[in-house]
Symmetry: C2
Subunit: 239 residues, 2 copies
């Protein structure tokens, strides 16, 4: 069985962003990404600064249970881009057998069949400030497959740094009007370790984003959120 | 037609809490409450300090459109306790005709048939720190009716000030395990106008709540959230 490159397993903690914001969850963070976003807040998953450990699905489950004991029923698989790994299917199947709910976030660049089993999928196409380019045709298919599922949920999330990103978000919303859209404050200070300063900086950015969205007639049915974990713990990893 | 006592109409702004946190929405706040929670953060709706204006459903819709123009498609009816007023049915019917989504929050003490039409209903039974007593039988019926609906959502929200409230939340979760449960930081400083101080105070309280819930094996499938509007704007009314 192919192993999975894991960078960190932690929790239980709160999901700090997006469609399951606030949810008590364990995190499995896998290494590697096919993107190189300018402002990536988890570049340690792909820039070589930290080493992944190769683990089987059973080993991951065991570590989750060691850390989370009997306090959790929700697991978030994050990255990097988890969609790089078809072998995550084994983990997701195991988690389902244990009655766990699952969530995943991916930019929507690579499809995996196991996406169909995930309870809450967040697709986060990357706006211009990331320096990445969106393959809209691929994204169309991705979203089509995921919206076909019943009982399970899908949402779009766009991180916003500037007015160009806002324009991009409007395009996303117009193209997929029936998919819940989450707009999120971008963190442009991922190396900042003055947590106090970062907090007020990020809240000001959140307030700016709220103002922009409130005036917009294109962005009507949207949710605007900060990252709760960054407000609480700054740029600290593993919380 | 019976008029509705309205205290404020404002927005668009973000919903700061609960199941639709982050949602761009207009607010209609009605006056009056059958409860007197010790820490009520909207006591101006019932303590006589502010006067309500009696408005028809059409007048409310007109004011919403004046303020929100064509930038909104979601309306939150808050209070006080909106469930005091059967005449809200006319407003909700109007909003539905306009294609608006609706949300309401109530403590679950009084039933209204129009609850069946609301897209997102938050039931917020009050914990011991409020000095109110929960009528569990009534709450059972309330939740039963609301969970029978398809396509529409219901959640429970408990505001937490201390360990007694946490115990109460566990009881709520055990009684209604299939209803999504939101735990929210209590604001014990609703008269505080030092926004900076309030922010760090409330974040510390949120962190405490997160810690407590993460350790708990009874509170597994829950969401833990702060109040976003209070983090942004302190105790300011009408934002
Ligand atoms: S897609 Fe995500 S993990 Fe990959 S570089 Fe962009 S922000 Fe980082
Ligand atoms: S039920 Fe709500 S509005 Fe009524 S007193 Fe309690 S907190 Fe205030």
């Amino acid at each position: 069985m192919k192993k999975i490159p894991v960078l960190e397993i932690f929790g239980p903690t709160v999901q700090g962003e997006g469609m399951v914001i606030g949810q008590k969850t364990m995190f499995v963070r896998v290494g590697g990404c096919d993107y190189r976003c300018a402002w990536c807040d988890s570049s340690f998953t792909w820039d070589g600064s930290q080493r992944a450990t190769l683990l089987t699905a059973e080993e991951i489950l065991q570590k989750l249970e060691e850390k989370g004991k009997d306090t959790f029923c929700h697991v978030t698989i994050s990255g990097g881009n988890p969609a790089l790994y078809s072998q995550l299917e084994a983990l997701i199947t195991l988690l389902k057998e244990k009655g766990m709910k699952t969530a995943v976030e991916t930019q929507g660049s690579i499809w995996q069949e196991w996406m169909m089993m995930i309870d809450d999928v967040t697709i986060s196409p990357k706006p211009p400030s990331s320096n990445m380019t969106t393959d809209w045709k691929k994204l169309d298919l991705y979203i089509q497959r995921l919206t076909e599922r019943s009982q399970r949920r899908v949402s779009l999330k766009v991180v916003i740094f500037d007015k160009h990103d806002l324009r991009y978000a409007k395009k996303v919303h117009a193209r997929y009007p029936h998919v819940p859209l989450f707009l999120q404050t971008g963190n442009d200070e991922t190396k900042q370790d003055d947590t106090e300063w970062l907090l007020s900086h990020l809240l000001r950015k959140y307030e700016w984003l709220v103002e922009q969205v409130m005036q917009s007639k294109e962005l009507r049915n949207v949710k605007v959120l900060p990252q709760l974990h960054t407000l609480l713990w700054g740029n600290k990893q593993g919380v």
